[in-house]
Structure formats: structure tokens, C-alpha cells
Symmetry: C2
Subunit: 353 residues, 2 copies
DNA sequence: TTCATCCAGACAAACGTTTGTCTTGTAAGT
DNA sequence: ACTTACAAGACAAACGTTTGTCTGGATGAA
């Protein structure tokens, strides 16, 4: 009986303020005042209780649409992301979502698959839907927008856009430093896809650090990722290509962990052991890197933390905080596992036929 | 100059219908009529052109808030999900997002981490925010809701909720059939966490198929996942526990691929080879299963397809389609890779000390 | 009694749209 | 010249809130 009643209530559409007011013999404004605890209004406690009881009884849920229209606050953020099923993006989104929901905001997400027309169109649509601010993950924004924007892994400096980025120089120091210390001098590199926001920064940092360490970057040992994939298949063919060049190398610096997994597989399929013959260095430290076989040595990006940071900055900006940073670099962390070791002999032997 | 102008426009907040109307010397209603191509209204082409030109000039973007309030359509869906960073959920969400955006809908997602009070609260909030329907992924809804709901991997039959589920019986036939055919008779099982919607269905299907195949399920060879994790750490300790029981088994049926990876690692750490000593059977076929070392034999759930199906059904229901199915089972697929092989000798030897 | 005060709540306008109805002005038909 | 008809657009109400102002009545003080 009581369960049945509860069920019925849950089935009903929430009542409007007017219905509630009619039922109570009050006017909608008064009901609104009570339910929102508007200060400076004198409503006797008895009436307040009646109103609250009725609200419960009718399962009243204010329409955020109407409220937003009136108050010009929606507590909604737009999130732009290239792809929903990718580990990097979802990790960042997870941090974003955590922080936003904790602060009472919701978010609309839109994925654009790096298509420029969508990247152009979605911010407008999201604004039309009341987004108060935007967070863009790995998205190549091209011009300023009339609302606060925070970009994660954005590489452009755009007015009004706060960039939350990894400290790529530090990351390159950690990765190349580690390999150098192990004794590697002949290192192959994988460059990220042109559409990926981090690609250029990460590459120029590597170039800078390699120069500092006196590591030569041979053009033949640099391969370029092209495909828009989120599976290890990404890294497989380029490493095959690398092997066919027959150049000597003892280590590969992969663009990310996913590609590193593909790289390891390509090496294995070519009968090369990791790390016995070739060391592989990942990037990101996704969930699975620690459980891959062999466990992947990598640079950890605090992805969830970057998402939270992005959300936090955006909310601060929404609250009128003016002196927001134009860029915020977060420090990477070196995670040494099993895919790196001192240079192997077979790879060298193989390179001198 | 032109670029500069374009930039300025992009910086401006979109103008309202009233501003446009004032500028044009028309009334807002007329402008609305033109921009929406309302049929049955006679507006001369000349005026139409003027209106459209002005809309472009002022970068007009209709407020979906206001429109929704008036039309009582928001083209917004609420998505309930336990966790944003999990591969299973994001894969399904990816399918959902694809279909919804293709059809001009946006979605608000909310993650609840399996907390009952949030699962109770969020649907209300999402409704308040104008969600026309809900998609719940792996979420234990407890009662009917006053709007169309589609559940992916939901295990309850609830009025008004369409369940999109995997055909678990078929999945069990495929997995156990495969192991049986290889010669396995002593099989260990991993049961999913109690809060995971699929756990019970999957288990009862396994029990049913095992009975049919005359495979005995020994209580000592059944371990229960408890922790709310999305990393392989999930499967590690339970397999250690299994090994300590010192019971003979030649194969493990894991609850999912993530846990299978943890299981493989636990076996390896106990000096047992996969599949030489013990076969491991996964579930889900996540991106990385094909690239894990060894490649994981598993059941593929068409996750993205399930997401798309869920979104499609929901949209059909929103369009007033009444004869929607109460449940829709999608067929799994057996993916044979490297973690299963005929029973190993060492595992048997080990079990008879 | 006569103000002034204050309480409780009503009233109205506004947010930005959409849509049904009404009004003008012009052109065509008789 | 007088309807009739239609084109072009104005007008108003509505969606569900919020918020500033206003009012009627009760209460208190002088």
C-alpha cells in the first residue's frame, strides 16, 4: 500500500509551482519564496510548513529550464572532447565530472572526432543550450569565445582560454634522462598525430632535451602516427616500418601507452624481446600499463587531476575571478617498470648484419 | 580586418530575438516565424532575406532554454552511469553519444558510483533539467520513473524501462562450450560484484550451462569479486586466494577482461603459465584484450552497438512508439585468442601434491 | 480615535521563445 | 463603388520561474 503509493508518486510528472500554489490557496511567488528560503521575506512558520509539506506531497521539482531563463544561471558546463571511448579523454572527463557534480554543476558533452566544422559549431550550440563555460579536451580551438573556456592539452594561446597542460619539458627530461642513464644512445621516436594537441609540444620538448643530452635524433628513427585510433593498432604499423628501415636502435619512445602496446607487439612479432632487445617507453600511464605484460615504463600524466584542475579554474572564473592564469602546467611523474632496461645486444647485432 | 571582425563577432554573446526584431523594425514573432520556416505563414521573400541576413550579422543563436520552455521539448537525454573512467561504460556511452548527436539530441551525464541515494536523486534532477528520457548503464534502478527509460545491462524488470542486455545464456554456452571442447573439466569461476548489474544473470547462465554440460561447479573454485575497481587489481587477489585453496583447476572463467588481466598476472606471479598451465577466459573484449600479452580469449559484447541500440529505442519511444520491447537481447561473440588451450599438466600435478 | 507600523501575501513584470488570433492595407472581383 | 479576399505582420498569451513593489488588514502606540 505504502510502497504502491510511493511508486505512483514516482511515476507522476513533478507538479509546477502554479499547481502547488492553487492547491495551497497561495500565489506561485509565495511558494517560490518559501521553497528557496529567500531572505528578508516574512512568511509565518505555519505557512512555510504547509508549503513544504505540499511540495513533498506533489513531488515538486523546480524546472531548471524556467529558473535558468529567469536567473540567467544554468549551472551547466559544456565539455568538448574528440572521442568518448578513449582512455585519455575519459580519464580527464572523470576528473571534470567529479568536480563539477560536487559543486552542483552538470555538463553537456559533445564529441567532434577532430572535425573542424564540429569544433566550430558545437560551442555555439552549447551556448544556446545555456552552457556557462566550456572545457575543451585535446581540441584545436581556433578563436576566442564569448564565454570562459579552459582547455586541457590545448596548444594554442587564445584570449580568454586557460590552458591546463602537462609540463612537457619536464616529461622529456624524465623519459630521455631515464633512457640515457640506462645507456641508450640510439633511440627511435614516435611523433603524435598532427591533430592531437599534445603532439607538437611533446616533440619540441624531446628535441630540446635530446640536444641537451647530446642524443642524436636520426630522421630515419622518427616515425609519425597518422591514424585516428584509440587501440594499440595505432602503434603497430609504424614500428614495423621502423624495423624495415634496418636502422640500429635500442629503445623506442612512444607517443602514448596505447601505441606502446602496439609497438611491443610489433617487436614481439619480429622476434624481438622487450626489454631484452629493445626498451619501450610509454606515455600517460593509463590503467592498464601497470598490468600489461611486461609492465610498461611510462610518464604518468595526472589526468584526473588535470580534469579537476580545469573544472576548478573554470568555476572560479565563473565566479568572477579575474586573475586566472593563462596557462597552468602540471608536473609529470616517471614510472619505471619493466619495458626499459640497459641496451640489448640483439638489437645491436641485428643492426650490423 | 575581416579576420579581426570575425573574431569580434565570435566574442559577442548571441543577440536575442527581440534585439533582432528591433533592428529590423519587425516584431519578435515574425522573426521567429521566418527563422523557423513555419509553414502556412505568408512572409515575402524580401523580408525573409532581410531577417536571415540580420540573424547572420548579429550571430543569432536561439536560446534553447526559452524554446524548450515554450515547446516542451528539450532534445536532451539524461545518462546515468556508475563511473566515467571505466572502459565498459565509456564504450556504451560512445555508442549512445554517437546516435544521440546524429539525431540532434544532447545528453547530460551523471555518475553515481553505485550509491543508492544518488541513483534515487539524479533522475529527478535530470528531469528538472529537462531530460526527455533516461539511459541507465549498469545502474540498479529500483522503481518506475515518469519518463521513458532504457537500461543497458539492467537486471530488473521495471514498468516503463526497456532493458538492453547481452544474451548471457548464449555467452555462457560459448565460453563453457569452448573450454569443454578443449578438454577442461576443472574450472574455476569468478563472480561479479553484487552491485554490478550483470553479475547475477551471468552467473545463473553459467550455472545452467555447466549443468547441461555436466561440468561440476565446486564451491571452493568459485571466488567473488567485491571491490569497486576498474583496474586489473580487481582480479589479482581473488586468484591468489584461489591458488591458496590448493584445489585442482585447469581454467578460470573471469568476470571480465580487466579482472582476467589481473588473474593472469597473479598466475604468472605464482609461476604458472597462461595458457600452458591454466587457461583464462575473459569477458567483454575491451580494446586492449587483443593486445594484451598473451592475447585474451573472451566473449565480445557489442558495447558500442548496445549503446546505439539503447539510444535508438529511447528516441523511438520519445516519438510515441508504444510497442517497444521490454527486453532486447543482443548476441555475444566468441573471440578465441591465446589465453585458452587444452588443459595444462602442471596445474594438475600441482593439485595432487 | 488616529496614525504609523508591520505582517502576510498578492501582483506584475521579466527571462526568450512560439503560436493562435487579429488587424491593417492593398488588390482583385462584381 | 462596394464587397471579398488575401497578404504582411502585429498582438497577446503562454511556458515555469524569480523578484521588486504594492496592498489590505491587524497591531500597537499616542
Amino acid at each position: 500500500m505504502s510502497a504502491r503509493k510511493k511508486e505512483d508518486e514516482a511515476r507522476e510528472k513533478p507538479a509546477s509551482l502554479k499547481i502547488l500554489a492553487d492547491y495551497l490557496g497561495l500565489c506561485p511567488a509565495t511558494v517560490s519564496v518559501v521553497l528557496n528560503d529567500v531572505p528578508g521575506r516574512s512568511i509565518p512558520q505555519k505557512t512555510r510548513d504547509r508549503v513544504r509539506a505540499a511540495a513533498r506531497k506533489f513531488n515538486y521539482q523546480p524546472s531548471l529550464l524556467a529558473r535558468s531563463l529567469r536567473k540567467k544561471r544554468t549551472f551547466t558546463i559544456g565539455v568538448l572532447v574528440p572521442e568518448l571511448s578513449d582512455g585519455y579523454h575519459t580519464m580527464v572527463m572523470s576528473g571534470i565530472g567529479d568536480h563539477l557534480m560536487r559543486e552542483g554543476y552538470f555538463y553537456l558533452s559533445a564529441h567532434h572526432r577532430h572535425k573542424p566544422d564540429m569544433i566550430e559549431e558545437y560551442p555555439r550550440i552549447l551556448m544556446g543550450r545555456g552552457a556557462e563555460g566550456l572545457i575543451a579536451i585535446d581540441t584545436a580551438l581556433s578563436h576566442p569565445l564569448p564565454l570562459p573556456v579552459v582547455a586541457v592539452a590545448g596548444h594554442q594561446k587564445i584570449a580568454g582560454v586557460t590552458n591546463v597542460v602537462l609540463d612537457h619539458l619536464r616529461a622529456a627530461e624524465l623519459s630521455l634522462g631515464h633512457l640515457y642513464q640506462l645507456g641508450h644512445r640510439h633511440i627511435a621516436f614516435m611523433r603524435g598525430q598532427p591533430f592531437s594537441a599534445d603532439s607538437d609540444d611533446r616533440w619540441s620538448s624531446i628535441v630540446a632535451v635530446a640536444r641537451k643530452l647530446n642524443i642524436e635524433i636520426k630522421p630515419d628513427l622518427v616515425v609519425q602516427l597518422e591514424r585516428d585510433l584509440t587501440s594499440p593498432e595505432l602503434g603497430y604499423p609504424v614500428v614495423q616500418q621502423l624495423l624495415q628501415s634496418n636502422q640500429r636502435f635500442t629503445a623506442i619512445v612512444s607517443f602514448n601507452d596505447i601505441a606502446a602496446i602496439g609497438a611491443i607487439r610489433a617487436l614481439r612479432d619480429a622476434n624481438l624481446g622487450v626489454p631484452d632487445d629493445v626498451s619501450v617507453f610509454g606515455f600517460d600511464d593509463i590503467n592498464l600499463s601497470a598490468y600489461h605484460n611486461p609492465r610498461i615504463t611510462t610518464i604518468r600524466q595526472p589526468l584526473r587531476g588535470m580534469g579537476e584542475t580545469a573544472a576548478r579554474i573554470l568555476l572560479q572564473r565563473l565566479q568572477g575571478f579575474k586573475n586566472y592564469p593563462q596557462e597552468l602546467a602540471v608536473p609529470p611523474e616517471l614510472i619505471i617498470r619493466e619495458t626499459t632496461a640497459p641496451p640489448g645486444k640483439r638489437a645491436l647485432r641485428r643492426a650490423r648484419p
